[in-house]
């Protein structure tokens, strides 16, 4: 018998393709390393940071380029982007203001400043990935979606900051897990700047690859009592191995329920 995935998944997120022609070089490099590793046994991922702009979106891009089904969220009360000074941030609403609108509004305000600090580049990347930043707290888990995760649930939530992990775990606790569905919530601590986001994105992709590899191994394992096991019991092991390879990105994990 061949190993057929129980639920056929779309081969690639359309958003990923849109992004691909912008960052051709960056992407080719990633593809070369991890070509399609998510494809044949895709765990579904969700990346979370404060504003759903920098770290979670970099990871979103990187994971979707490797064919992983992925969605992303922010846990803040609003989207906050740096402004002309530290006390004048640009604030936008979650779920309604699109990346495109933010891009245009910043370009209008001060194209030189926002080009120089990288915001325009980031928003340009983001608007090719999805429509608008989404707020974690407003996510209706399990409601079907139009993007890569059509059934609206994921297997692994990756947060990019300990505070976000706290909020996510706390929020899931308060939701009282109406779906009864298992989810691993992992934090990878990434500093909120462009360079660190790139490093963190690579780390998250590697973690996704390692988890998927472990899942594949477990599924093909035939134990004495049970066959086709799942990755759940391997997560501590995989995470520890990953942490040894990425000591600069402190990890945290818990088993929660949607």
């Amino acid at each position: 018998m061949m190993q057929t995935p129980p639920q056929p998944r779309p081969t690639a997120a359309p958003a990923a393709e849109a992004a691909a022609d912008v960052q051709q070089k960056h992407d080719d490099e990633l593809r070369g390393q991890n070509g399609g590793s998510g494809k044949d046994f895709p765990l579904k991922f969700c990346t979370v940071c404060a504003s759903n702009q920098n770290r979670s979106m970099e990871a979103h891009l990187v994971l979707s380029l490797s064919q992983y089904p992925v969605i992303s969220f922010g846990t803040g009360s609003a989207v906050r982007l740096p402004g002309p000074s530290i006390d004048k941030p640009n604030i936008y609403a979650f779920n309604s203001t699109t990346y495109d609108e933010m891009y245009n509004s910043l370009k209008e305000k001060d194209p030189r400043l926002y080009h120089a600090n990288g915001l325009l580049g980031m928003l340009d990347r983001n608007r090719r990935i999805k429509g608008c930043p989404e707020r974690w707290q407003d996510w209706k888990v399990g409601v079907p979606r139009k993007d890569g995760v059509e059934d609206g649930v994921v297997d692994v939530v990756v947060t990019c900051e300990e505070r976000c992990w706290d909020i996510v775990v706390d929020d899931l606790t308060n939701r009282n897990s109406p779906l009864n569905r298992l989810v691993h919530i992992i934090n990878i601590d990434i500093k909120d700047n462009h360079e660190e986001a790139l490093v963190g994105g690579k780390g998250i992709l590697e973690l996704a690859n390692m988890l998927s590899e472990a899942a594949r191994e477990e599924r093909e394992k035939a134990g004495p009592n049970f066959i086709r096991e799942t990755v759940d019991g391997r997560v501590p092991d995989v995470l520890a191995k990953w942490q040894e390879r990425f000591p600069g990105l402190p990890a945290l994990w818990t088993v929660g329920y949607f």
Binding site: T4, P144, P178, L179, L182, T230, T254, Y257, F258
Partner: protein, 820 residues
Amino acid sequence: MEATQVFSSVEDQLQQLGSARALVLTDPVYWPQVLHGILPIVSGPIVQLRRWGADFLAETFSTPVVEAGEKLNLAVACLDTMVRLMDEKEAGILKSVVQCSASVYPLIFRYICNNREDAATWKKMDVLKSKILNLWDTGPVGVRLCCIKFVQRVILVQSRGATDPRLADRSEISLSMVPTNHPILSLPALDAEAQGLLDRLLSVLLEDPRQENTVTTTTHNGESSRITGILIINSDATLTTATLNNLAQLVKTRSPIAAKIVSTVLSFNPLAIVTRSNTIQNRLMMQCMEKTVRVLLLNIVRANPQGPFTGKVSQHLTRLSRMKADLLEELSRKRAAPTPDNDAVKRLKTDQQQQQHAAVTPTPTPPLVPPQQQIINGPMSYAQLYSLSTDDGMNSFDGQQLPLDLILEIINRSMYNVQQHNLDAAITAVRNRYAALLRAFPPVPPQAFSQQSSSQASSYVPPPAATDESHAGYLPDATENRIDKQEKEEDKAESNDEEDEESELQLGKFRLPPPPTLSREELRESSFDAVNRIFSVIDQFDKTSLVSRKSKLGVMRLAASNWDREGWTTLITRLATRGMGGLQGEEEIKPEVRDSDFDDEDYDEEEGDSKLQKPSALSNFIRDKLYMCIIEDFRARMDIAISWLNEEWYNDRIMAKTQPNRQPQYKIWMMKIMDGIFPFLEGKDRMFMRLLSEIPEITVELLQKVKMLCLDPDRAVLGIQMLHFLAMLRPPVRNMCMDVLEDLWLNHTELRGQTQKLISKWRPEVLVPKPAAIAAAAAPASENTGTSENQVAVNASGGNLNGNATASSSDNTNTTPMVT
């Protein structure tokens, strides 16, 4: 050939099923229809389809897009399929079915509540439940995680919610839904099952369940294996965090079981894993479990900040962070040579485990003590006499290696936890041995000892040798004392301790020698130490708000009912004031504790009246500490100041009756505190008024200080508010306050804007314009307030009382140049 055909058809079917699923995801209306359609396939022989079906079942009962009512109908229809799927051996399928069951269980439960006759459906659910519970300990980890969720759902459904019917959520499915005379559902049975499941669920936080099993099976070796069982905590962070993340809902919505859960979580030590083996993975898992505990506890507390757990939880979290910091520091120090000897953590773990062990998990019965075991013919050491363990390792363990405080801690804890009948059995066993020994060696008291004890023998009554229960505790006490004594003997004469030991075993009479008398210096040192320790205890308590500090004991409350900050404060203030009363009284009899001897610090600030009896040095030491303590942070410790000063004042009153020549302490210390506080008062320190209003006696000197405050432009408002407040709410000092105010009015025109209202309210006569002569006459007198000031008032009122109560301010300002 055939195989490929089957394969391709399976492939086709999966594709069809995939598009069916895509359809229901976009339009959930078709969901029931599709589910009914796939049920036969799910029971079919093709494993790929069964896999797909199990996932689809789980999704159906999870998804928020299908209505609950619809789900109930589907659930009844799907039970058979689910029961059948539980026999699969694939972890993926089992995971889905267990997840699905967790969603279905509450639905079926409610259905059975309303459909009393449908025993068949409940039977199916019961079969499903028992299959899942069987997998809970034996299944693959992924399945076990789903089982944990299922168990949480069962506990939620089968326990009672809020006890107050007004708070109960009607849509919630709980034991309260079950009608009392239900033919299928038995309330006590359901409740008991939930309790049992909860214990099993929490056991992962207590210790390794496998160890538990070995303990209960190997009774002959129970003692030692129980100890290892305590030390080894289930390392499986996966199950632990999953369990923890399921507890918040139980705590928040099932108040009857909340306390048990919280206390188990508080006793769980997430740091223990590292002490077992310090690997990178264990360190990481330690962090993960610690954070999960933290988020859980904060979630519980935040949901109900006034709840019963808030204090304990916040204390626990502070302690946990401190322990974690210590541990990490220790680990980084020991990184080079990691040893498994992290005492602090291990100790805590053992303590907590022991504590919890008695509370929640059944304590394995210790082995029956072989009563006459190893009665050695010949000399026998105390260790041999008292060791009841059959384990060689335990017997060869030298208890003297442990630090004394640890031993005390262990004894304390175990005395709380030990079962009475076990203790009785152990005592009887030792007593029998002892009796056997006595029979073997008839008592021949050695010369030296009998001489020494003869003088004390009259006061000692030897314990009766009876074996009845009521005397059970007596013998060990006596023999322990004997050991104490023996140790002392050893100190004195080390040479012949061997004979002593033997001979003493045969002696029935002894008396503990009195402790060596302390020198005055030592006495003083140790009392100061004790006081310092009490202060450090007071410091450690969190500052709780007045509301939460309010005692729940009501009328039963005593001054120090609880050993909290308040209790210790009461203790220390009374120690300073009344506590030394006895000592002072005994001065004449016991010259060695006389104050003047050890009063080398001089506390006599004022009037070196030698007739006045000064307080003892220790009292004053405590007072000084109290003073320093208050001055360090007077805003936060105002309550200490108030209770202390009240105690002083009260004691002054009491003592004045019996010892008229005692130097009163209240005024001295009150003024000292005020001197300490006043320079640091700020304009916004309105809390200070509370201090003024609650101290028992206000003196003229104190009001003079307040007056000085009024003259400081920065704090004038505060000063005047104080005077206002006191004048208004403490009638006995109203006149004194008004004297001050009047003085201000007359001599400090810049304050008139603020003082006018008060003066016009209580001393309107001052406002009356006076003839220059009278004013001039009053002027010198007003400097030192008092009677002459009143004289002025009398004069003024005699002149024109109701004339100019509303005298214009310009009039008043005109009078001032004359007055000053």
